[in-house]
Symmetry: C2
Subunit: 103 residues, 2 copies
DNA sequence: CCTTGACACCTAGCTGTTCTAGGTATAGCC
DNA sequence: GGCTATACCTAGAACAGCTAGGTGTCAAGG
């Protein structure tokens, strides 16, 4: 399920894990894996560009941390928090719409 | 909600409406609109290529009907029916996975 | 009669997102 | 010293959905 069916929902997932606590990119990947029971095993080439995109559009902010390794730690901005709320209600509408047709 | 978030799920939706009864392309668009309460207003440029794709991969079969207008009527093949079943369970897994992360 | 709008089909090319497949570099363990 | 896990990055491929154009029929209204 490393999927094309994911399209359009990745941003919300990233915002969701980062809204709990700031994390660096690699840790975001692992958090997604952990919180989904291993189902969401996203490659770095998917997540890193997504983080950059989200930062460019002001939903995330990042800071370099140098505790041994170089790590870029991301946190959700206020706008990102609001966007996460919108994403959640959009998700609910999306699923009910699809399910209305699918069942 | 005419969306990028739809990606990867359109095929299942089309199979679902056509599994009830065979329809021509334009009617598929209207059926999707009706069954979703107007939320799914997909442009022709999305649906027609999808129908062709599904036929090419053997999940749909079509026949021209000439009752006044030219209409290409699509029906779900046996393979398409099986695929619809798979799509439904994939959908369930997909939503539970996303929701585990999102909530 | 002729224009407008709904019906019904089609496709080339744009866009944007995910993935593939490469690359760099450090830390820790055997 | 070499291997694995950690940690970052990006160019380009692949592909789905959309935009924006096109054709043609039919029915209703002016």
């Amino acid at each position: 399920m490393t999927a094309d069916e994911l399209k359009g929902h990745l941003d919300a997932l990233i915002l969701a894990v980062l809204s709990r606590e700031p994390l660096h990119g690699y840790a975001v990947i692992e958090a997604l894996k952990a919180r989904s029971g291993g189902k969401l095993a996203l490659p770095e080439g998917t997540v890193y560009p997504a983080l950059h995109r989200l930062e460019r559009s002001g939903l995330l902010a990042s800071q370099w941390a140098h505790d041994g390794r170089r790590r870029r730690v991301y946190r959700v901005t206020d706008r990102g928090q609001r966007e996460l709320g919108l994403s959640r209600s959009r998700w609910r509408e999306f699923t009910t719409t699809i399910e209305a047709v699918l069942t």
